[in-house]
Amino acid sequence: QQPVQSPQAVILREGEDAVINCSSSKALYSVHWYRQKHGEAPVFLMILLKGGEQKGHDKISASFNEKKQQSSLYLTASQLSYSGTYFCGTDPGAGSYQLTFGKGTKLSVIP
């Protein structure tokens, strides 16, 4: 079952902040975040492992709460280059090799 991402779409002005949420109905071992720019392949941003780990990538950071089976992606002081569709991919662990991706959140940053 696909994780649920919210919001589905968001429009920001440069410099504004945004939060994208990813919620799963299953227990998770890790959560991956990817960004896909228009006409391009998805690109890996970060992995969050079990243990409430927070990670950062430039001004993009994320958290993972395995008890709530949720992860959030934080985009701070957004730049035009942040525009794209963000996907979370959930990993149930237990020897699984695959990720289940959400439907994506389309982020548009305008001047």
Binding site: Q2, H32, A41, P42, I47, Q98, T100, F101, K103, G104
Partner: protein, 115 residues
């Protein structure tokens, strides 16, 4: 620089044709994946492979088969293409070490149109 390549960026086929989509990775990754991407539905896993000649069904395997004869190459086969298989197809690869999944690297995609 890591690389996943796909045989075609655009492909147009007729209903009923057999279609082969090929993917090659140069990172010596154990795992390879085929996804289809449709507007509003995200990335949905068709099949994946965790070793040569090994394959597992993903969430939407109906109408597809796969082949992995060499570690670097993973093929997606549409035995008899149908119009509802018109989509963007993305291949990806990843490593697995110590039981942990590492990041997936995606190819540029093949936009398949079945008429």
């Amino acid at each position: 620089d890591v690389k996943v390549t796909q045989s075609s960026r655009y492909l147009v086929k007729r209903t009923g044709e057999k279609v082969f989509l090929e993917c090659v990775q140069d990172m010596d990754h154990e795992n390879m994946f085929w996804y289809r991407q449709d507007p509003g539905l995200g990335l949905r896993l068709i099949y994946f492979s965790y070793d040569v000649k090994m394959k597992e069904k993903g969430d939407i395997p109906e109408g597809y088969s796969v082949s992995r004869e060499k570690k670097e190459r993973f093929s997606l086969i549409l035995e008899s293409a149908s119009t509802n298989q018109t989509s963007m197809y993305l291949c990806a690869s990843s490593a697995t070490r110590s039981g942990k999944n590492y990041e997936q690297y995606f190819g540029p995609g093949t936009r398949l149109t079945v008429t």
